[in-house]
Symmetry: C2
Subunit: 334 residues, 2 copies
């Protein structure tokens, strides 16, 4: 089952979307918003699934689904917490600034609490007020949970995952060092993120969803050129069950909690940092990683961060090269 | 005007509460929840104010208000971000561990993104799974904002403050050093907080609300003994206008954003760290500050963190010694 929220008010209007993303059926008679569906998932998800089946069988009225009319599936959420599950990425960043990475990073997940009071729509411009902030995209996988009790095990956490999607976790790189030096984590350096037009239930992903990971190439284009093709199922040190259980260690998580994977990152086939797509590599899911590789190899970064007018595309394809979650496509706004 | 949410479902039931907190009037015909009222404040707040006036004038049906039946006014919220506006507190903590505090801390607010997916009710037990985590209270002032545009000035931010209240920002002290050392801020060390039974509009606070600060003694009792009596309007380096503007520097804030002051802390009259209430001082708003003073004075902390059965009370009184926001009273649960 694929769910989306058409732009409408603060929380959007819940619709069920066909597998090929061509059509939608209004789900307002079941739940007005995705949050309302998640709040009562045990009761409502069966009705939503029946609606999805009817939509596939052409048994109900349907409308054309236009991704540009979609808000983020949860236009605002009660929680957004982002892990750093691709430890390869963290190790590279540390290597570039000649800082040692603690060995504990390989078995204790990094996670930060993000802002969830308003997500950008998947086709909304990124409202960048100051190019000097060093705007970057971060292509990631996210899951949405139901209620998760405090102290949940990895298996319990996995069972609480209701939906899977993608995000562009917008980051202001030049604000990060000063902010992290203050010791309290990210705040101004993490403005609003955008989510993929549709979120998908794990069972509808077939063998793409396995062992708590989403498998397949995460496609990232920058200004029409392939930038990243890393496989989200590879080099993911912590699966989503582990990430959700980490988040729930000392407190329950409310339904509609969004947990991110952190920037997807693959090692090169030779074990070293990934190569650019143009050089036959799998590329990068953020500009910072490329700049890090440039620093390691040439002493300084070359590729600039995003500037007004740049266009970022993030998506993942099914076996027919059709987007699984729709496409995040954002211009950087001035 | 004073607003509360009676326990009901995930978001409570909005009620208007009389100034003396003795009675309430159901506000469901105006807005079912406080979030709904905040989402459309310009239209709905006038109706709520009229209801509050009618309640004071005994012109409408009313019910007894019992604080134990109240949830946190926003039982869950889209954003909770907590500042450290009482820099005195930060300086003391640094002094205790012989760490220098950057001079920038006096003009650049510290703020962390907290979890907002579920707040404890003001009389709910604190669900502490492991006493070794070092559970502590933090008595603070909070404000709730309407929509705040990105880049809002301090004055614009001040004008967007809709409600004022108190919080017990529960902290797990023994998890903090390890978590902050990882560099991404608090996560597991900040479980669910509790808010005061009622939130109050700034204009209803009279001269208690001035220059973006709440003035008056923040009362903290631990197991029935006075623990803290610090004045929230004193030694607050950053007022709420500055804190909200800081939060909005790189992104808009959604209506219903809760911004905290950080632990309230006053210097002693002699300029040094505060003395315990029993020694004629204003005491402390968290155990960690007392332990810090003990460490500075005696080489090591003496007062233990919270254990199962301990009872924390947090409130603020009006000129008739009546609680302004109701009372947060929480037992530590096993």
């Amino acid at each position: 089952m694929k769910l989306a929220s058409l732009k409408s008010g603060r929380d959007g209007k819940l619709v069920v979307v066909s597998n090929d993303l061509a059509y939608y059926a209004d789900a307002a008679h079941i739940a007005p918003t995705l949050q309302a569906a998640l709040d009562d998932w045990d009761h409502l998800s069966l009705d939503l699934r029946n609606l999805a089946t009817d939509l596939e069988h052409d048994a109900i009225p349907k409308e054309r689904f236009h991704e540009r009319e979609a808000a983020s599936p949860l236009p605002r959420a009660y929680q957004w917490a982002d892990g750093s599950a691709y430890v390869n990425h963290v190790a590279l960043v540390r290597q570039a600034r000649a800082a040692e990475m603690p060995e504990s990073f390989w078995h204790d997940p990094l996670m930060y609490q993000g802002g969830s009071d308003g997500f950008l729509g998947p086709r909304d411009a990124i409202p960048l007020a100051d190019a000097a902030w060093g705007c970057d995209m971060e292509a990631e996988v996210v899951v949405v949970t139901g209620d998760v009790p405090q102290g949940a095990s990895r298996d319990e956490a996995l069972a609480a995952i209701r939906l899977v999607g993608l995000t562009n976790d917008v980051s202001l790189r030049n604000l990060i060092p000063g902010e992290l030096a203050k010791g309290f984590g990210f705040f101004q350096s993490k403005p609003a993120s955008a989510m993929s037009p549709v979120f998908v239930t794990p069972e509808a992903l077939g063998d793409r969803w396995k062992d708590g990971k989403l498998h397949g190439a995460l496609m990232v284009d920058l200004n029409g050129e392939p930038f990243g093709r890393a496989d989200a199922g590879v080099d993911m040190t912590f699966d989503f069950g582990t990430l959700v259980a980490h988040a729930a260690k000392t407190r329950a998580l409310g339904a509609g909690t969004i947990i991110g994977s952190g920037t997807v990152s693959n090692r090169d086939a030779d074990g070293g940092p990934g190569k650019p797509v143009a050089q036959g590599g799998l590329g990068y899911s953020c500009i910072a990683e490329l700049r890090t590789v440039e620093t390691i190899q040439g002493g300084k970064p070359v590729t600039p961060f995003l500037k007004t007018g740049d266009i970022v595309r993030i998506w993942m394809e099914d076996e027919h090269h059709h987007p699984l979650f729709g496409v995040i496509e954002q211009a950087v706004g001035g």
